[in-house]
């Protein structure tokens, strides 16, 4: 009997067609797998997907909620993608978001009477600095001793969340909040303006602006180019005289700062105070969004909307008794398929016995 054997032949350049097709097919396959799984566990897949779709993309309210969730996803994904470009595995966007939210919250709590033109820019700057410094904590040992940043950034997520918990259960707790774990509500000057009459807020423009800036930096600037070189070959970068250590520190700081901005936008644009559990894991979903978008800043904007919808849909299906964790599971499955599919982007798959196998190079 002929055993089906295949071998992988490296492509010199990634297949441009596959770059577009793979993510699309991956999402569809993940949904299909999810449907099978739902059916096996006694749910009705079509009903579940219908609710997920209708509640996230099928109405004005749903669309708004999807966009509301997409904003922090865009920002955290842009942040991690910047680090990923340099093969710095910053998976601490979750913690950086929390620290950014904390940094931004400090200003209205301490100086509630600042005018709006000082308050909002001040919160943006403080949020970004707090997120950036939090990331820098891991960049320093990475740059100096090559301490694995995956583990340190991840561990700091837990620390940041506990730190914010400490603040909102302790020194920052609203004295009038009857012991609930949140700070006093921000003054109006500390709130990002909403768009129209919806929950959508000006944080969207932060995300758009940063995406455009990153796209330009990577396409046209010398620095953006050197980040790419360091990412693809550290040795080549060193021979070219690029300062790798300084770039590790700088890129991690900026990466954390962008995630910190996501935290600022959440507390200022949506919640209006700092509280326990401000993020349902945006910083982790960001990893998937960034990878699915091939680290392309403009693609990140679009993919974030899709994942925002998935998030909203996940909440929606709880109504019919399906756990919201189904959304997380689908996210993981999508990434599996994208990863598996990349083999078609980077390699030609040849099956043995196939005609012309010996001739092709």
């Amino acid at each position: 009997m002929n055993r089906l054997k295949f071998k992988l032949e490296k492509r010199l350049t990634p297949s441009p067609v596959m770059v577009f097709i793979i993510p699309l097919v991956s999402v569809l396959l993940a949904l299909l797998l999810g449907a099978i799984f739902l059916a096996l566990t006694g749910e009705k897949p079509l009903t579940v997907y219908k609710i997920m779709f209708e509640d996230s993309l099928g109405s004005k309210y749903g669309l708004t909620e999807t966009m509301v969730k997409a904003i922090p996803l865009m920002l955290t994904s842009l942040g991690v993608s910047l680090a990923f470009k340099m093969k710095l595995w910053n998976i601490g966007a979750e913690g950086q978001l929390y620290m950014g939210a904390m940094g931004a919250t400090w200003l209205p709590l301490t100086f509630p009477s600042l005018p709006v033109y000082l308050m909002l820019p001040g919160m943006v700057v403080l949020g970004m600095i707090a997120g950036g410094l939090w990331a820098l904590l891991t960049a320093i040992p990475r740059a100096v001793w090559k301490v694995n940043e995956i583990i340190t950034t991840l561990m700091l997520n837990y620390v940041a969340i506990l730190w914010v918990d400490y603040l909102v259960y302790g020194p920052w707790r609203d004295p009038q909040g009857s012991n609930f774990p949140f700070t006093a509500s921000f003054v109006e000057a500390a709130r990002l303006p909403g768009l129209g009459n919806t929950r959508l807020h000006a944080g969207l423009f932060f995300a758009l602006a940063i995406a455009v800036i990153l796209a330009i930096v990577f396409k046209y600037s010398r620095w953006g180019y050197s980040i790419n070189v360091i990412g693809s070959s550290e040795r080549a970068a060193r021979y070219a005289g690029m300062n790798i250590k300084r770039n590790i520190l700088l890129v991690m700081f900026l990466s954390g700062a962008i995630a910190g901005l996501a935290g600022m936008a959440e507390v200022s644009g949506i919640i209006g105070k700092l509280q326990h559990g401000i993020s349902p894991g945006y910083g982790y979903t960001a990893i998937i969004v960034a990878w699915l978008s091939k680290l392309n800043p403009l693609a990140i904007l679009i993919v974030s909307v899709l994942f925002g919808a998935l998030q909203v849909g996940g909440y929606a299906v709880q109504v019919v008794g399906v756990p919201a964790a189904v959304a997380t599971m689908l996210q993981g499955a999508i990434l599996f398929f994208v990863l598996g599919g990349e083999v078609f982007t980077n390699y030609r798959v040849k099956f043995s016995g196939q005609k012309g196998e010996k001739l092709s190079k």
Partner: protein, 311 residues
């Protein structure tokens, strides 16, 4: 309270808190020795915890739960093996995907099991005369069966790695897979075996949490222990004995924080005590790596997919 009255329960608790991390770290250790880095340990542990719990609740036997956790842990690790070994996907991203997938899957499966008690968890079985040895007895030998199995497992893995032919091959697999291939060993097949075996051990680590440590199921109940296990493998310099010591050290930090809370040390916020294991992980990692000036005994081919044609 005498120092013994404080120390013995603390050290016994350190062993208990260290055991789930130890299982997961041993699993990751053999995976990495084979040249594959699996960052999905957290997800594997969660899947192991929930499937072990479900099986134990359904059948009434913690041993069947243990078996289920091994099968489930191995099964999700198989996804990682397929993606990284056969399809040569990026090992870091595949592991992260596994963690996210495992978190979602366990949350989904376990939803209806939250708050249910398990009839027969793994309970303390004093180990005959060993349990009566002063000081050491109550710490090491008045534990549950899974703790005892972990002692044996460390010895087995150590002996296997350093005193048997397949163990030598395992170490070479992560150092120089091309040489193994030249010797006629199937690199792909062997890596599959070790990744799946490592996943099964990660599953046991999860089951220890849901069937012995705190017999119950809670979403995200691993709380970062899978990641601590990954860090521990580096701390252990890929050696099972050092993994054992490291696991109990982390367990000790965990237990210390908990006991200080119980004792009502109100000067330190409980939130800071809960931070201890994470902060400690970072500090110890930085310390170990800095002390070796970045030149650890990392398996040479760790993280690289093997391609016969690029030999």
């Amino acid at each position: 309270m005498s120092i013994q009255e404080f120390l013995i329960p603390l050290l016994a608790a350190a062993v208990i808190a260290g055991t789930p991390i130890l299982y997961a770290a041993l699993g990751e250790l053999i995976t990495e020795r084979a040249g594959v880095i699996n960052l999905g340990v957290e997800g594997i542990m969660l899947v192991g915890a929930v499937s072990g719990f479900m099986a134990a609740v359904t059948t009434g036997s913690p041993w069947i739960g243990l078996l289920a956790s091994m099968v489930a842990g191995g099964a999700v690790a198989l996804i990682h093996a397929f993606l990284t070994i056969t399809l040569r996907a990026n090992q870091v991203v595949s592991g992260l995907a596994l963690t996210i997938f495992g978190t979602g899957l366990s949350g989904y499966l376990g939803k209806s099991y939250i708050g249910i008690p398990v009839e027969k968890p793994f309970s303390v079985v004093p180990l005959g005369p060993l349990a009566d040895i002063p000081f050491i007895g109550p710490i090491l030998f008045q534990q549950d069966a899974l703790v005892y199995i972990s002692y044996v497992l460390v010895v087995i893995i150590w002996y296997y790695m350093y005193h048997t032919r397949p163990g030598l091959n395992l170490r070479a697999l992560g150092e120089n897979p091309a040489a193994m291939d030249a010797l006629g060993l199937n690199v792909f097949y062997l890596r599959y075996i070790y990744v799946v075996a490592g996943g099964a051990l990660g599953g046991v680590g999860g089951a220890y949490l849901s069937l012995a440590y705190a017999p119950s199921w809670l979403e995200n109940m691993t709380a970062g222990r899978g990641w601590i296990a990954v860090a521990l493998v580096i701390f252990a310099l890929w050696n099972p004995w050092r993994a054992l010591m490291g696991a109990y050290l982390f367990g000790g930090i965990d237990a210390l924080g908990f006991r200080l809370q119980v004792l009502g040390i109100h000067e330190i916020s409980p939130f800071f005590l809960k931070m201890l294991p994470y902060v400690f992980t970072i500090l110890i990692l930085v310390f170990v790596v800095a002390r070796h000036k970045g030149r650890l005994t990392t398996p040479g081919a760790l993280g690289l997919s093997y391609d016969r044609e690029e030999r």
